[in-house]
């Protein structure tokens, strides 16, 4: 009954928010309210934030992770009277939506949780001030990398190669180039890199590691890689591998294909390892020549147009695990395939990031090469998805 009342309260609050929005037009923020950018650096206790948050409306969170729905549940339980609405979007669509809202002066969201690896997030939302970081003073010393380029990563993941553990006792390859062999045609699944930021980051980052790819090819084939004029080892690799790859919309589809045995290999975000919990035989490839994937991270930021600044800050504190890192808000992100962004909180994965063959995308390079990479992938995708039904 108590839960029903709370839901009713949330619904009424949401209605109030809508009515207020209707009455107030679409102006960003509220006159006299704290502006997020100005208050983001203030030291505030959770108690102070909670008291002020109770005066605010329903908190709106734009996220790329379905796990945030679990954070919402525990946040609403920890802070009675506060309500959270979660909008779960894929990274490119999230950035489009936040950017569009900002351009139109719509204060539509308060907190933004997004994959920040392709450079799009930084370039379009961080560098333009559409979102701002909020790092509480008592939590800051525990963040492994603090604010990285104005972005606050709250969890590390990887875009990683997996194999079907139901079909193979051990990983059947030890070199990335083996994925280009014809025997794997239609058995390698990967999200469309032009629609998945973490996949784009991995694919793009390989172009910065062509030397390693050439060396790996030498080990694999026993001869030098022939790279056509104007091309690169990465381009050659992907052009060959794409003939075997089934491109998907999301990592969920990759996990399903591995889970039901359709895929022998899949490139996907490492946090899908948690789907082993429902019986998918997903086996991560930790070691592979020259690399098995790339490190990725998710950023937690305040929307510059946030209406509910105090509630947003309280939510971000909660998500970061509060002062001691042990808070319930971080729990949904301590799952297999994740690594903590804090030095005082346990990773969700037994194998440390340092023991995995990962490359780290250089966002500035990805931004600089975007047109070239998009052109390349558009052609590769056209060639390898046409005629599929």
């Amino acid at each position: 009954m108590e839960r029903i009342s709370k839901r009713l309260g949330c619904a009424l609050a949401a209605l109030t928010l809508l009515l207020c929005a209707g009455c107030a037009g679409t102006a960003s923020g509220t006159e006299g309210a704290d502006a997020p950018a100005e208050t983001a650096r203030r030291a505030e206790t959770p108690e102070e934030l909670y008291a002020r948050a109770l005066e605010e409306d329903v908190l709106v969170v734009y996220t790329v992770s379905t796990r945030v729905t679990a954070v919402k549940e525990s946040f609403e339980a920890a802070y009675p009277g506060l309500c959270v609405e979660v909008r779960d979007l894929r990274s490119p669509d999230l950035i489009d939506a936040v950017e569009k809202n900002h351009a139109e002066g719509l204060a539509a969201c308060d907190v933004v949780l997004c994959n920040d690896n392709s450079g799009d997030f930084k370039e379009r939302l961080v560098d333009t001030g559409v979102v701002v970081p909020y790092l509480p003073e008592d939590i800051a010393p525990h963040m492994k990398e603090g604010l990285s380029g104005g972005v606050l990563p709250f969890v590390y993941e990887a875009e990683l190669l997996f194999y079907d553990g139901g079909g193979f006792d051990a990983c059947p390859i030890d070199n990335l180039w083996a994925l280009t062999e014809e025997r794997w045609r239609g058995r390698v699944y990967m999200p469309n890199p032009l629609r998945s930021f973490s996949t784009y980051a991995f694919c793009g980052a390989t172009f910065e590691h062509c030397g390693e790819l050439e060396e790996a090819y030498r080990d694999y084939a026993g001869r030098e890689l022939s790279v056509p004029e104007g091309s690169s080892a990465a381009a050659v690799f992907w052009e060959r591998a794409a003939k075997n790859i089934v491109f998907t919309n999301s990592s969920d589809e990759v996990a399903e294909a591995l889970g039901n045995g359709d895929a022998a290999f899949g490139v996907m975000v490492s946090s899908k390892l948690r789907l082993r919990g429902v019986g998918y035989a997903l086996e991560p490839v930790w070691r592979l020549e020259p690399f098995a994937g790339c490190r990725t991270s998710c950023a937690a930021m305040l929307a510059a147009d946030a209406r509910n600044v105090n509630c947003a800050k309280l939510f971000l504190r909660f998500l970061l695990g509060e002062a001691d890192g042990a808070g319930a808000g971080g729990e949904p992100f301590r799952t297999p395939g994740t690594w903590s962004a804090r030095d005082d909180a346990a990773d969700g994965t037994d194998v440390p990031l340092t023991e995995i063959d990962l490359i780290v995308p250089d966002q500035e390079r990805l931004i600089a090469r975007r047109q070239e990479l998009e052109r390349f992938w558009t052609e590769v995708l056209k060639e390898n998805t046409a005629g599929r039904s």
Binding site: R3, I4, R7, T66, T69, K72, E73, V86, R87, D88, L89, R90, S91, P92, D93, L94, N192, L194, R195, V246, F247, T248, N249, S250, D252, E253, E256, G259, N260, G277, V278, G279, Y280, W377, T378, E379, L381, K382, T385, A386, G387, R388, S389
Partner: protein, 468 residues
């Protein structure tokens, strides 16, 4: 005196000319259902496009009812002047129910004798028609895997019933819920497909060499019924699955109390409300279960078009109404009706995207409008005919909780288990009634599935119906 009157008369005539009624034709009066997804029909992009294309001015009459039959009864009992009635977005009428109005001469027939304009659907028209959805929060809480076989499903359902997966300390869990309103919502129909191909929409009939054959007389069918009856006896299969309305099933599944372990449906949006990402994230689809003898089938359906619009026979503007509705069925109009404004909300794909069904894309959505409050189209209200290549080739909008994408993934997982096409017999209503009652009675224990006498009696009745 006369001289003074002249300018006065001139002035009056000018004024009279200025006040003369315009010669524009009366607007066409179109009744459309109230919809949360259409902000204002008068300023709607699609409506404006239709007005421009047809040269007609449209005036909308809002329908507040949800039952199309009730509305038409009220309309034809009144003097209300309406030139066309549009159906959709929850306001529906079965084709059979329309026949009464046609026979009474209330509906204007088309040249081909049909008395309604069809809505050929807003989603893929053929493919898997029943999906099992399971509560993955409960699986996670209990450390269980997605079931792959009927036996594994039974184990999971037992755990759901006995181990308090919603954690409230009360044995209030419904392991496998259902509804009587549609075969797709009856879990037993899905489970039977793990024993023998079971298509209740076609009276469980197939054609073999032109002869009608039924799966319902096979031992595998009996074995499947026995499995379902055992689930029912154990309290694993919803005791009210043959009574509950679809809306009640939806209320249960959407309950914040987290009460339902699994359910079946054609589309997840038929049970889980859109805009409810927490509930949508709670359920995962399950690929067709393998039965004890290896049978693993997915139900194949071809979705019939629904009633999209009618023209009342008493309308004085029937030709204009027909022009409007014919225009709505054109490809250009239908693409606007489904996806919004070309170039702004969607565009034709250059082939570099992946569709929601995994193939090459044909339509890329830029602003995803379907089932959201918007003012670009009528959210499926009225006749429309979008080609299958677009419905199947549309890209994902990136929203994880989008029902169309969730359905597409689920249906894709069923495709390897669909039967070969061209083996379907026509539905036989008398046979369906007989079989539906028998399935229900054997599962709920009114008839004893283990009794050879009762089974033979059932087979005799079945044989008589097949021989008619």
């Amino acid at each position: 005196m006369k001289g003074r009157l002249v300018p006065v008369l001139l002035l009056l005539s000018l004024l009279a000319g200025g006040c003369a009624p315009e010669t524009r034709p009366e607007p066409l009066r179109v009744a459309i259902p109230d919809s949360d997804h259409v902000q204002n029909p008068d300023t709607n992009y699609y409506v404006n496009w239709l007005e421009e294309r047809t040269g007609l001015e449209l005036e909308f009459v809002t329908i507040r009812r949800r039952d199309g039959e009730e509305y038409l009864d009220a309309l034809f009992a009144s003097d209300a002047e309406v030139d066309a009635v549009l159906f959709g977005d929850g306001f529906t009428i079965p084709e059979g129910a329309l026949r009464r109005f046609a026979e009474a001469g209330e509906l204007s027939p088309g040249e081909d004798g049909t008395f309604y304009y069809a809505n050929y659907g807003d989603s893929v028209r053929h493919g898997p028609g029943q999906i099992l959805w399971i509560n993955c929060e409960w699986l996670g809480a209990l450390g269980l895997s997605l079931p792959r076989t009927t036996e594994e499903l039974r184990d999971v359902l037992r755990a759901f019933r006995t181990r308090d997966p919603n954690g409230n300390g009360v044995a209030d869990e419904i392991p496998l819920a259902g509804s009587a309103d549609d075969y797709a919502c009856q879990p037993a129909e899905l489970l039977l497909n793990s024993y023998v191909y079971n298509d209740p929409y076609h009276s469980r009939l197939t054609l073999s060499g032109g002869e009608r054959k039924t799966a319902a007389s096979e031992n595998a069918f009996r074995e499947g019924l026995a499995f379902c009856a055992a689930l029912y006896r154990e309290g694993l299969l919803d005791a009210r699955a043959y009574e509950r309305r679809a809306s009640q099933l939806a209320e249960l599944v959407n309950s914040p109390e987290n009460l339902v372990g699994a359910f079946t449906t054609d589309s997840v949006s038929a049970v889980i409300y859109q805009g409810n990402p927490e509930i949508l994230a709670r359920y995962m689809h399950v690929a067709p279960l393998r039965g004890p003898h290896g049978a693993q089938n997915a139900l194949y359906v071809e979705r019939e078009p629904s009633v999209g619009a009618i023209i009342p026979a008493r309308s004085k503007r029937q030709d204009d109404a027909r022009r409007l509705l014919d225009t709505m069925l054109s490809e250009e109009a239908s693409l606007i009706a489904r996806y919004g404004e070309q170039g702004v909300d969607w565009e034709f794909s250059d082939g570099s995207d992946v569709s929601i069904y995994g193939g090459a894309s044909t339509v890329v959505t830029k602003n995803y409008l379907w089932n959201t409050p918007q003012n670009k189209h009528l959210n499926g209200i009225g006749p429309m005919r979008v080609r299958e290549e677009y419905l199947e080739g549309v890209t994902w909008n990136g929203v994880n909780s989008d029902a169309e994408y969730i359905d597409a993934r689920a249906r894709t997982s069923c495709r390897p288990y669909l039967p070969e096409s061209g083996v379907f017999a026509e539905r036989d209503e008398a046979l369906s009634d007989y079989l539906d009652a028998a399935v229900r009675d054997f599962i709920t224990g009114k008839r004893e599935i283990g009794s050879d006498a009762e089974w033979n009696e059932y087979l005799s009745g079945l044989d008589a119906l097949l021989r008619r």
